[in-house]
């Protein structure tokens, strides 16, 4: 297995694991409060839809000329990865709230109870919420599997990594029988953001005609550069937000409340 293939497998595994944890929370909430069988039907239908998307778009992507594929997939992967990385940096710096699985579970369970109309047999609410939850969380994974896999011509490796992540999360969910609130989601999202951005940059530039010094070896340097830059950004944002908070807490009252200044 080459370094790029290991990077592909690790990135897809982490991305899929994070999304699977979020989907599991939704399915657990509707399953425990309403109907397990209908919720699981929703999961199955979403999984089939996601597999169909990958099977339909995979061959179309891999049939593109390699340079066109690399610049297209690299560019899209870079834009997509920068979104993940930006949110992860903002969460790590304390600007954006971290995802709280217990809170999400409580909200979903409350909404499921409030929906009412629960009958014996098939429960449309459980099916729909599970289907939507798994499909929406899974779309990002399908996107990563398609882009990474097609570029490396290893959609099979990407799909296997995604499948393994789902099995691991499912196994943990069955063992814990509760939302997986202790999974370090932001750290995983941070890592995925760094990997997606780095691979996107590498492939995008190659597709545009650039030649990296040291060839594929440049990828490790790009990943290190992106990781270091992102950590520096977390630090800078944290310090600047902290300073702004201190400044606003110690700021003098507005001029109208200051008799000397207002005079």
């Amino acid at each position: 297995m080459s370094g790029a293939e290991i990077g592909l497998a690790v990135s897809v595994f982490l991305a899929c694991a994070v999304e699977a944890v979020e989907a599991l929370t939704i399915v657990l909430a509707v399953g425990t409060t309403r109907s397990w069988s209908s919720a699981l039907w929703g999961v199955g239908a979403a999984a089939v839809t996601l597999a169909a998307i990958v099977l339909a778009l995979g061959p179309a992507l891999t049939s593109l000329p390699i340079d066109a594929l690399r610049v297209l997939v690299g560019g899209v992967l870079l834009i997509f990865g920068l979104q993940w990385l930006r949110k992860a940096i903002l969460r790590a710096a304390g600007v954006k709230a971290s995802h709280d699985e217990l809170q999400t579970y409580a909200e979903e369970a409350e909404a499921a109870r409030a929906a009412g109309g629960l009958q014996q047999g098939f429960d449309g609410y459980s099916f729909t919420i599970s289907f939507k939850g798994v499909l929406l969380e899974g779309l990002e994974v399908a996107f990563i599997v398609l882009t990474f896999g097609s570029n490396q011509h290893h959609i099979d490796v990407a799909a296997a990594a995604a499948g393994l992540a789902v099995l691991v999360v499912l196994g943990a969910g069955v063992a814990v029988r509760a939302p997986l609130s202790r999974v370090p989601e932001n750290v995983m999202k941070f890592a995925v953001g760094v990997m997606l951005s780095s691979f996107g940059m590498f492939w995008g530039a190659e597709g545009a005609g650039a030649h990296w010094p040291a060839g594929d070896g440049a990828l490790a340097a790009i990943i290190a550069l992106m990781l270091l830059s992102s950590l520096v950004m977390v630090r800078v944002v944290r310090v600047s937000v902290g300073r702004a908070a201190v400044a606003s807490a110690g700021a003098p009252e507005p001029a109208a409340a200051d008799p000397v200044r207002s005079a």
Partner: protein, 65 residues
């Protein structure tokens, strides 16, 4: 026609999110890379600083916004 434009808008929203400036910056950086490479000038150095700058600017906008 309306469905096609809705689908394209959905795809755009999915890929670029709420930060179109970063997406545009990536496209411009790749175009500059292609232009330099086409002129047989070393072009690999364009993307790393461009991507880091785009990320930093995106975070700055998010913090200020």
């Amino acid at each position: 026609m309306r469905r096609v434009s809705a689908l394209l808008a959905g795809v755009w929203e999915f890929v670029a999110g709420d930060d179109w400036r970063t997406a545009l910056g990536v496209v411009v950086a790749l175009a500059v890379t292609a232009l330099l490479a086409d002129a047989t000038i070393a072009a690999w150095w364009v993307m790393p600083p461009a991507v880091i700058a785009l990320l930093a600017l995106s975070i700055r906008r998010a913090v200020r916004g």
